[in-house]
């Protein structure tokens, strides 16, 4: 594990997606530690276990077995020492309802899973390099959903 590197955690039950995610991080050449959990329960166990270092950015899939991403989001925002983790929703769904709900629950950004690997790399690059302090203070419904120019 590298020091000073960003800690990234992806919660996604889809093996292929985890693979794309891992490959993309390897290719963008930013110092990161990427870890994976497979479902909501595992995510919460990971976060609540004090042996694990808390992630800087959590990529959260919504549609997961055992505990959905929305449930995890609510739990995290209720937990005092977890609520400041930056949460990027990472979902196939682009339904207004999901975007609205996660915005209200306090997620920082909403990413619709792209269907192109190069787009994925661009997205990850954008999310990792963004100034989160600046982004969060100016967060609104219009810039919540990440759109690449």
């Amino acid at each position: 594990m590298q020091k000073n590197a960003l800690n990234i955690l992806l919660a996604d039950d889809d093996e292929d997606d985890r693979l794309f995610f891992k490959d993309a991080f390897e290719e963008i050449k930013i110092q990161t530690n990427v870890e994976f959990v497979h479902d909501g329960m595992q995510l919460m166990d990971h976060l609540l276990n004090s042996d694990n270092k808390l992630p800087d950015i959590l990529f959260l899939d919504l549609n997961m077995p055992k505990k959905t991403g929305k449930e995890c989001l609510i739990e995290i925002k209720k937990t005092e020492h977890l609520k400041n983790i930056i949460i990027a929703i990472y979902s196939t769904s682009s339904s207004e309802e999901d975007i609205e709900d996660t915005f209200i629950q306090g997620a920082n950004i909403y990413i619709k899973k792209p269907s192109d690997f190069n787009t994925l790399k661009k997205i990850i690059n954008e999310v990792v390099t963004v100034n989160w302090h600046y982004h969060t203070s100016g967060l609104n419904r219009d810039n919540f959903l990440l759109r690449l120019k």
């Binding site: 794309f20 549609n63 207004e96 899973k113 269907s115 192109d116 690997f117 994925l120």
Partner: protein, 594 residues
């Protein structure tokens, strides 16, 4: 309570009658007193005359004695002495009678006593006269003296009798005068009293006949409204009952018997009767409600089942109220509604609602499947294709490269289909918020969305003034995008596309076959293009989902765009139609309610 007519006159009637009765009582007591007085005065007159007669008898007896004595003195015949001898008895008899008659008058008694003294002296004088006239004891001087003294005594007696008669007469006169005074006052007074009583009675009679007339009118009204209530109970399937809590008497309206499956009046209801009809499931509830109504004076609607003698179950709704009438007796008033029809209809509606909810849920889950599950494998196919690098492609055979390209195109087309389908279903399911919006703004947004293709084809879009309407903004924007996009897509090759958008306000009655006549005014917006047009036989079918007039290789499309347009216009309670001829362009017309 307003509905009870006010017969206050009964109170004034009572007063009038009491006054009249008192006047009549007064009159009869006066009449009685008159009678008494008359009786009294006639007795008085009789009394006076009796005294008078007795005094005269007394007088005549003494005179008889005097006459007899004179005859005897002159003739010396003893037969003349007979009246003289009887006169003493006569005098005594009269005297006793007189004493009785004047018992109440001390003055007359005194007079009588003196009179008696005089009479005794007179008789002593008689004896002396007889004694001195007798030839044996004849004494002329003494005889003359006694005869003379007898004369004086006789005058004194006459004087005394006259005095007594005068006293009686004066007494009589005074008494009669008092009675006369009393009587003379009354005739005028009693006649006026009688007239007053008559007046009051007439007044009462007038009031009674007036009340009677009013009663007749109210009675008629009551009869009519009773009939109306009975009739409306039958029509409206409701019934009423009254329970007089004081007399514990319960009355059912005719329709109540009918609702319970009986002929009107076929049994006498008591408190428990109604509960017998209530379905066993609801007995406790209804029983509690009846108890509650007495406590709270009001019964909120209670719903329950009723079991008819025919074993039919009917659904009832009841309410009631505790009333207190003018006499202060408590009456429980209740209404029962037979809501079986509504109830069954409600159940049916609820079932339909459930079905609808179910199918809506299915639709929503379909939406979810489309938006998530269906997209996921597709997205992966596309991502994996994107992972095949140019270096990888270089080592592939030509055909493998072609297949890969075709896979990519198909996957893209699938993506468009899914996205369009999602758009279509969301047009239906998402929130419909109507906001007053300037359609020109929405048109400008649509144009900017289509900038790329407009510029590519150098299309000319001309629009006259569009109205401000309460619409779902993003849907109308989508409608404009789809319509303009459609015109641009099917433009004639080698011709600069031109689209004219015009808006006018029209009356619904001018389009009776297509527009909702409940809305008076519509905005008619037409999109006229110079495109390739289509065969007018398809002007209905082009709005149907997945209907395409062209092969997808010539014109890529999903056949969803115009179906979305129709759905959007439907959402706005408007109407959309198309008209065209091949090679002569098309006109799309939308009507939106004002």
């Amino acid at each position: 309570m307003k509905w009870i007519p006010n017969f206050n006159s009964s109170n004034s009637l009572r007063v009038i009658f009491v006054i009249a009765v008192f006047i009549l009582l007064f009159l009869s007591s006066i009449a009685y007193k008159h009678n008494q007085d008359l009786n009294e005065s006639s007795k008085l007159v009789m009394h006076t005359y009796e005294i008078n007669i007795q005094l005269e008898r007394l007088m005549s007896a003494i005179k008889d004695a005097e006459t007899g004595q004179r005859g005897y003195i002159i003739t010396r015949n003893a037969r003349f002495l007979t009246p003289y001898i009887y006169s003493r008895d006569k005098v005594n008899t009269s005297f006793i009678t007189l004493k009785k008659l004047t018992a109440d008058n001390p003055k007359q008694q005194e007079n009588l006593r003196r009179l008696f003294k005089l009479i005794i002296q007179r008789f002593v004088s008689f004896e002396n006269c007889l004694k001195y006239s007798d030839p044996k004891t004849y004494d002329k001087r003494r005889l003359d003296n006694h005869m003379f003294g007898g004369r004086i005594l006789m005058e004194n007696i006459r004087f005394k009798v006259d005095e007594m008669n005068d006293i009686e007469k004066t007494y009589l006169k005074n008494r009669l005068k008092i009675y006369d005074d009393e009587i003379s006052l009354s005739p005028l007074f009693s006649i006026s009293l009688f007239l007053t009583a008559l007046f009051f009675i007439l007044l009462a009679y007038r009031q009674i006949s007036k009340d009677f007339q009013r009663l007749k009118v109210f009675n008629k009204k009551l009869l009519i409204s009773n009939g109306l209530i009975a009739e409306s109970e039958t029509i409206g399937k409701f019934s009423t009952w009254q329970w007089d809590l004081d007399s514990n008497k319960i009355d059912y309206s005719d329709n109540q018997y009918r609702l319970l499956g009986y002929e009107p009046g076929s049994f006498v209801p008591v408190k428990e009767t109604f509960l017998d009809f209530v379905h066993p499931d609801d007995k406790e509830n209804v029983s509690n409600s009846i108890e509650g109504i007495i406590k709270n004076r009001q019964l909120p609607f209670v719903y329950y089942k009723v079991l008819l003698p025919s074993h039919e179950v009917r659904y009832f709704k009841s309410t009631g109220k505790l009333l207190t009438d003018q006499q202060g007796s408590k009456i429980l008033l209740g209404i029962n509604f037979d809501i079986t029809d509504e109830h069954l209809l409600n159940i049916e509606l609820q079932e339909r609602n459930k079905e609808l909810e179910k199918s809506n849920k299915e639709l929503a889950s379909f939406n979810h499947v489309a938006s998530h599950d269906l997209q996921e494998p597709l997205r992966k196919i596309q991502t994996f294709i994107s992972r095949v690098s140019d270096a990888d492609k270089a080592v592939m055979s030509q055909s493998a490269r072609d297949y890969l390209a075709k896979i990519e195109v198909s996957a893209k087309r699938m993506r468009v289909l899914i996205d369009d389908l999602l758009l279509f279903s969301r047009t239906n399911t998402t929130k419909k918020e109507f906001i007053k919006t300037n359609l020109e703004e929405l048109l400008a947004n649509a144009e900017s969305e289509l900038t790329e293709v407009i510029e590519e084809k150098s299309a000319i879009i001309v629009a006259n003034k569009l109205p401000k309407l309460a619409v779902i903004p993003y849907q109308i924007e989508q409608l404009f995008i789809n319509l303009i996009g459609n015109s641009l897509k099917y433009s004639k090759p080698n011709t600069i596309p031109s689209i004219t958008i015009e808006s006018t306000k029209v009356n619904a009655e001018d389009y009776p076959e297509i527009l909702d006549q409940n809305v008076k005014k519509f905005h008619k917006i037409t999109f006229t293009d110079n495109g390739m047009g289509f065969d007018p036989q398809f002007k209905e079918t082009i709005f149907i989902l997945f209907q395409r007039l062209h092969s997808k290789t010539d014109y890529p499309g999903t056949g969803i765009g115009l179906a979305i347009c129709k759905k959007i216009v439907d959402n706005h309670k408007g109407y959309i139609m198309a008209d065209s001829e091949p090679d002569k362009g098309s006109v799309f017309t939308i009507f939106l309610p004002d």
